[in-house]
Symmetry: C2
Subunit: 395 residues, 2 copies
């Protein structure tokens, strides 16, 4: 998609380096709408929540917002009362430079937990940040929210409601600490569609459950995850109960792409694998099985080794807590059947499956031949580089 397309009526964005990251990479970003927006958010369900999450939730209680200020390199989490004051100071510094109420500013942070936020650097960089705001600034923003990501994630979609065109632009970051329930991921979406905050919140929840909550990298979840959407209505395309599906499908498509990007760029990942469970007793059993298989270190290291080790897959299914008859399980690698009714299909199938595993993307399907329960999760392999990245993260 061409870079010049990554714009959305009435929104501007910017990103720059303010000195939080030791390596001098961009670490501060801002999105502003020219008018007040309807806004919605979904946050981490981790019991330990970062200060910006607490502040952002409060500012979202009005169902409105006009700007998002975000830093990377420091999570501002487990930083006590000072942390909350610092998150509020981020908002007020942005607000005063933008000439609006601090309550209109949404806030997010990502990075190391437990270190004091260098909020003076953030405040000091604010005039320059505001000056650099531009309609096509979303790519700079996407770079400024990266932590161990190797590339920025940005997406754009255009739709039409009753003849009126509207667009959505979104940026995301992830890379590690990702699993259902949204771990260390941030996603900010802006749309010029018109939608009430209550409906926007419903749509967002639905979309996140179908996209970001169905990916996993290492099973860990974060204290800072936030998905925020702002809708300024500038296009005049109105989303209501009748036109909801158009907007929701478009947002699902956009977030699904970003979710795939997150897994592809998973820390050290060399493969993206869709774990698909069908024929389970019910959806909850299917979810438990998919989740356990997708997070098993033994399964994920076998993917890295390009080893069609289905024994580890069935072993993980067996400890998932779901009920099933092991003698009825079929397992496929893409279209290659490797296990039939709980028994391996032999050397020929193994060789074909190994060829599938040499691809960068493939599907592992488990069919329990029992009911209609189904679920799928995107995961990646567990590589030597994952360990290296995470052993050295803070140094």
């Amino acid at each position: 998609m061409h870079v010049s397309k990554m714009v959305c009526q009435g929104f501007r964005a910017a990103g720059l380096a303010c000195g939080i990251k030791k390596n001098g990479n961009p670490d501060l970003g801002l999105i502003v709408s020219d008018g007040l927006c309807q806004a919605a958010g979904v946050f981490t369900r981790n019991l330990v929540q970062a200060a910006p999450v607490k502040v952002c939730r409060r500012h979202l209680e009005t169902g409105t917002g006009q700007a998002i200020i975000v830093n990377s390199g420091n999570a501002n989490c487990c930083t006590g009362k000072q942390g909350e004051q610092d998150a509020l100071r981020m908002c007020s510094a942005a607000a005063s430079e933008l000439g609006m109420e601090p309550g209109r500013i949404l806030v997010a942070s990502t990075g190391v937990i437990g270190e004091p936020l260098p909020v003076d650097r953030i405040a000091g960089a604010m005039p320059g940040l505001v000056k650099s705001l531009a309609p096509d600034g979303f790519r700079d923003l996407a770079r400024a929210i990266m932590t161990t990501d190797t590339r920025p994630k940005i997406g754009w979609r255009r739709g039409r409601i009753e003849g009126r065109p509207f667009s959505v632009v979104a940026v995301a970051k992830g890379a590690g600490m990702i699993r259902p329930d949204m771990a260390t991921m941030l996603c900010f979406a802006c749309t010029d569609a018109e939608i009430d905050s209550a409906l926007l919140q419903q749509v967002l929840l639905t979309v996140v459950n179908r996209t970001f909550n169905r990916i996993t990298i290492d099973g860990d979840t974060s204290t800072n995850d936030s998905v925020l959407v702002m809708a300024n209505g500038f296009s005049g395309a109105r989303v209501d109960d009748q036109s909801r599906a158009i907007f929701q499908d478009l947002l699902t498509d956009l977030f699904a792409d970003l979710a795939m990007e997150l897994v592809k760029d998973g820390e050290g990942a060399t493969k993206v694998v869709r774990v698909e469970v069908v024929g389970a007793a019910n959806d909850e059993d299917a979810r438990m099985i998919a989740d356990t298989v997708a997070n098993s270190p033994l399964v994920k290291t076998a993917f890295f080794g390009q080893d069609a080790n289905w024994g580890r897959i069935i072993g993980a299914a067996g400890r998932s807590g779901a009920g099933f008859d092991p003698d009825r399980v079929d397992i496929f690698f893409d279209r290659v059947k490797m296990v039939n009714q709980g028994v391996g299909c032999g050397q020929d199938a193994e060789e074909k499956a190994t060829a599938v595993l040499h691809q960068p993307e493939f599907t592992v399907k488990l069919d329990f031949n029992q009911g209609s329960g189904h679920w799928s999760i995107l995961t990646c392999d567990l590589s030597v580089d994952y360990v290296k990245i995470n052993a050295d993260y803070r140094s």
Copy 2:
């Protein structure tokens, strides 16, 4: 402990190579008692159970047994009806060579899942195996059950009940796929104490829950885990409700040592870490927190990197499902307090904690200052070598 001590009255053991392992390492072992034993067993709770587990459970229904036949290099799991026939054939081959009923033979396998067991090689090696049985053969046995273990695990204890000495000798294997609920681990214990099988089963369950069920290497669990105990009564030392504590404490001490050996020899492990939770609302909350922290890839890679990254620890606790107040949590690395009431203790504490992390063994303690719930689990770090070992396991 001197090798010559690793004996137990009336028991003989042996181990040799019969050609299951491609590299020619020992892969077949046998333990025999000179008389019928009271016997007990604890098995994997994975829904997918290997053929030898099913057969061994049936043979244990009498509460007795006289021999254990075991192979490594092949798990005989997900091998269908043929797998069960092969497990039975292992028993009958041993039984006919030993001149006893096949029902007296307990059986176990460990290794790759889903490949047919080369049972002819096992049967063919049986005469030589029986010939090499010796009272001090437990070390050979310990070698024959190794898979990715780098060293044999064997232990021995001596006790006394009402003046009568008795002893227990035990071998174990582990290395990967270990977590509470006993994953890919085998342990066989022999004692010349006298004890009824019902009481032996109770004691075994208690001891396993305090030892092998409190270790984790990668959170994966196996289809083949088995802990078996045989008691032949040859010492005349009688274990009953009165003397139970003496026997149970001795077995706990022995199994705790073996459990520690398993974690130390965890695949690629460079550190052994005790995760200790105190002050939780209740023991179940404490268990959930300890389990989640001990299995978090991010926490375990930080241990490998010798990085006192307590943010990942508190993050893992927060997603464990247990309830607690994040603002009351204290975290210690050995005696160094790193987190006070949910906030980091600063640079000085960090430097001291980093020194703790450079040790090969240390304790991470989380105090929730909330109740009397407590739990502890032994875990290891997640290293580059863990990934390498498990990516290449079958090749």
